[in-house]
Symmetry: C2
Subunit: 170 residues, 2 copies
């Protein structure tokens, strides 16, 4: 699929085949994440790539997402280092969100499926991941993306949001 | 280019050829923006697509971005309707950032170039766009993307951020 088609056909994928995700695929996905634009001089993000079955099995208790199948084949926790953006979350939230979108799109481009589970600003989920990974002070868990080969590949769904487009004036 | 290549090779493009951007291209880019995932039941975003030369010429005074060539062939102002996410900016900032990234990637996929200029949370730029478009109460200008055919297409630049990747533990 070409670049535009990847963007247009991506869907959230919550149910995965019982098939491992190769580390090489996760590494490509992380490269894509790190090509995302960011504000300022340095990106705020860190990524915890997770393929350890024991750690993966503890995720649903922290970050429940209705309909995500278990076991989860792989996951990426996107984190923000607040020390790199000391002015507050307004900009690092943008930077981390953009990197997370690249993860979703790259997974789709590689024939995988993924879904974004919101972590920030949910205090309970944030604390759960801080504890699970003993995150250092100032590192905020932002979003969890679960990744696997789709059990069923959802068909494209085009949103009819034409009322959200305005030409040259509100 | 395939989907992964589009993500990996995108660069910010600030200098544009003196060539108009067809409305059909902007419409495809907006379709891509609206395929972005969002939190909750309804997306917060609205898009003002700008190809009126008079309006475009007034943008640099509101939202200066070092190195963006003038005249700008086209632009999209991504806005958030706060009334759709009344719990505050934490989630609508994520949703709008993701839609903005899809705009950048779709422009690149179509052979165009684009650059994201931060608007939110810069109070002066936000006020400038609120006034330019007489935005209704609760509608926040979030980001401005300028779009055109690249004067020069920047070569891919791969970031070496391997220190930002952690496997299974911090």
């Amino acid at each position: 699929m070409d670049g535009l088609e990847i963007i247009l056909t991506r869907r959230s994928v919550r149910e995965y085949a019982d098939r491992p995700v190769p580390r090489e695929a996760v590494q490509k996905i992380l490269l894509a994440a790190m090509q995302a634009p960011f504000s300022g001089d340095e990106p705020p993000w860190h990524f915890i790539a997770i393929d350890d079955p024991g750690i993966l099995s503890s995720i649903p208790a922290i970050s429940p997402y209705r309909g995500v199948s278990s076991p989860i084949p792989a996951a990426i926790l996107v984190c923000a280092d607040q020390l790199l953006h000391p002015d507050g979350p307004d900009l690092w939230v943008q930077d981390c969100a953009v990197a997370t979108e690249n993860i979703l799109l790259a997974a789709h481009a590689l024939g995988l499926g993924a879904v974004w589970t919101t972590v920030y600003p949910d205090a309970d989920r944030m604390l759960g991941f801080v504890n699970l990974f003993s995150l250092p002070d100032g590192v905020i868990p932002f979003a969890l993306v679960t990744i696997g080969y789709p059990a069923v590949r959802p068909p494209p769904r085009y949103r009819g949001c034409e009322d959200r487009v305005h030409w040259n004036r509100w």
